[in-house]
């Protein structure tokens, strides 16, 4: 077996065998089922309140409380929780081993430090992908199984957009891809902080603090904030919503993806640069 594949396999085994890896799956399943239960119970009433304001403009017919709408709501709800769940595992990958001391064994194998960081980062991405798969299964497929399929009434900054049911699957596919790219930024930032810090909690807390601060900056329409907003990855993490606009803002989506990808490259590059020079003293 190739040396890199061997250490990647080791990292995946460690991720699979660590009990903390399963907390994220449990949280996602719980939140999805909780929201689905609540919407099953009270959803129609809630939606009638929302659609009442459009009654004098148009008539709403058919099943609007459907799996697509529930999935859209779940994804909006998990915008803060998903990065936290990713950071919970990826933020600990290097720093956790540094604090326990097992990093010494890892770094005295023939594998280079670059390969070790990249293997850890990749295993973090695989974990992120599985988190999103679980989210997709629970938020989209289980919701569709419970509530059925129908047109999506998507509320966004431009107003209300109706996406027809036969035009939605590819949008969900791309939305999850952009969500994966967004969470890859979080995983890469966690890996960088995990390389810099020597205990397992601080990188996780720091990632969350950065996301909260950037999100707050993004919430306020102020000139001083407007200058930096385009450069914050959190601004582009919500670009998956643009896939549910009509017409599709392709240029904006592509630009956001490029910026997110650039963040991944910078964070991973910085992680490798720092870790290659790091003295393992504990």
């Amino acid at each position: 077996m190739n040396e890199f594949l061997a250490i990647l396999k080791n990292e995946l085994i460690k991720t699979i065998r660590r009990p903390r890896s399963y907390i994220g799956f449990g949280v996602i399943a719980f939140i999805c089922l909780m929201l689905q239960g609540a919407f099953y119970q009270d959803g129609k009433e809630l939606l009638s309140t929302v659609t009442a304001q459009f009654d004098n403009i148009f008539n709403v017919q058919g099943n609007i409380l459907n799996g697509n709408l529930i999935c859209y709501i779940v994804l909006q709800t998990l915008i803060v929780q998903m990065p936290m769940l990713v950071a919970f595992v990826t933020g600990d990958q290097v720093s956790g081993e540094t604090s326990t001391g097992s990093i010494r064994f890892l770094l005295t194998t023939p594998a280079s430090r670059t390969k070790i960081v990249v293997a850890k980062w990749l295993s973090g991405l695989v974990y992120t992908l599985f988190l999103l798969l679980v989210l997709g299964i629970f938020a989209l497929f289980v919701s569709r199984a419970i509530f059925g399929v129908g047109d999506l009434m998507a509320m966004n900054s431009e107003g209300l957009t109706i996406i027809r049911a036969d035009d939605i699957n590819w949008r969900w596919g791309f939305a999850f891809l952009i969500a994966f790219l967004s969470l890859s930024v979080v995983a890469s930032l966690s890996t960088l902080l995990s390389c810099i810090m020597d205990n397992s909690i601080t990188p996780i807390v720091t990632v969350m603090a950065i996301i909260i601060i950037f999100t707050i900056i993004g919430m306020f329409d102020m000139k001083s904030f407007d200058v930096i907003k385009p450069f914050l990855f959190t601004t582009h993490m919500i670009s998956w919503r643009s896939l549910f606009e009509d017409p599709l803002p392709v240029d904006n989506i592509v630009a956001s993806c490029a910026i997110l990808f650039l963040h991944v490259v910078i964070f991973l590059g910085a992680a490798i640069f720092y870790f290659k020079r790091k003295d393992i003293t504990n």
Binding site: T100, G101, R104, F105, P110
Partner: protein, 302 residues
């Protein structure tokens, strides 16, 4: 004999603190080399530099004649180590941990090879237990298994006796001697206990405050020809007179009330006891120590 480890003017600074200062030493292939020093003397920092865990501030480290900075991966295939306390993945079993290390070295171990490895370190029957249930001594044994898993030419053991019970210490000593004599392994063995090194090492280097204090063959450095002999007598005034007239007068280093200190060979001690008895000098206590032992005790006590 070729060189397994060669350190030339190796220095490591952590900001203003000099942890290792222009260290030079060489470990010949096939040797068991003792690396001694009190806690905080720079032993672990030096071993971490040899294992590429810490980058030296200056100087050169060569293993098997190759620069560590340039050929780390190739070198690490030939080196096994325990650096300080062994830490494993507690949520995995001992065998699963070893599988990770075997895979990292691109080894495909058979079940029989794992059995032999666990038998060698005395963990047979516990290999499927989670490491988090292991005592420190068992982790130490597992650390030795991990150091040996890829059959390295050079084995670096940083205070490997820590946490081992007396039987474990004896087992480890025998294992080190077997690995050296029967399999020709070179071993660098660090300790802050001189007697441990004395029992198994052929050469040694003593460092303190990041600098080499002394190095050479264990038998020469711990020779019985040059001992510090401490003699405590009942009647010191008479003893002083008698000893001043003896052959050992020139060997006396100091006298402090009842205690006389000599610098002499071990072979002279019985004759001196006889001489004092003949002159009715009561001996309260006599002990002797090699001067290096004496020095080492001083720095380790400090």
């Amino acid at each position: 004999m070729s060189s397994a480890i060669l350190l030339e003017h190796v220095t490591k600074n952590f900001n203003d603190f000099i942890a290792v200062n222009a260290l030079n030493f060489e470990v010949k292939a096939g040797d068991i080399y003792g690396f001694l020093g009190p806690n905080g003397s720079g032993k672990s920092t030096t071993l971490r530099m040899i294992m590429a865990l810490i980058k030296p501030t200056s100087g050169s480290i060569k293993l098997f004649g190759e620069s560590l900075g340039e050929n780390r991966s190739e070198i690490m295939r030939k080196v096994g180590c325990i650096i300080e306390k062994p830490d494993f993945y507690g949520y995995l079993s001992a065998k699963e941990n070893m599988k990770l290390f075997a895979r990292a070295h691109l080894l495909n171990y058979s079940a029989a090879q794992y059995d032999a490895l666990f038998s060698l370190v005395g963990l047979k029957g516990r290999e499927n237990d989670k490491v988090k249930t292991f005592s420190h001594g068992m982790k130490q044994r597992l650390g030795i298994a991990q150091a040996l898993i890829h059959d390295p030419e050079l084995i670096i053991l940083d205070e490997p006796n820590t946490g081992l019970d007396p039987q474990g210490i004896i087992d480890l000593r025998n294992l080190i001697l077997t690995l050296n004599k029967e399999r020709g392994k070179t071993i660098l063995f660090s300790s802050h206990i001189l007697s441990e090194v004395q029992e198994i090492c052929s050469n040694m280097v003593v460092i303190n405050k990041g600098k080499v204090v002394v190095q050479g063959g264990v038998s020469e450095l711990l020779s019985q020809e040059n001992l510090t002999v401490k003699l405590e007598v009942v009647n010191p005034v008479e003893a002083s007179v008698v000893l001043q007239q003896s052959n050992w007068a020139g060997m006396m280093e100091s006298q402090d009330e009842t205690l006389f200190v000599f610098n002499m060979g071990k072979a002279e001690i019985p004759a001196m006891i006889d001489y004092l008895s003949q002159h009715h000098i009561g001996i309260e206590r006599i002990d002797y120590r090699n001067q290096l032992e004496d020095y080492f005790l001083k720095i380790t006590n400090a």
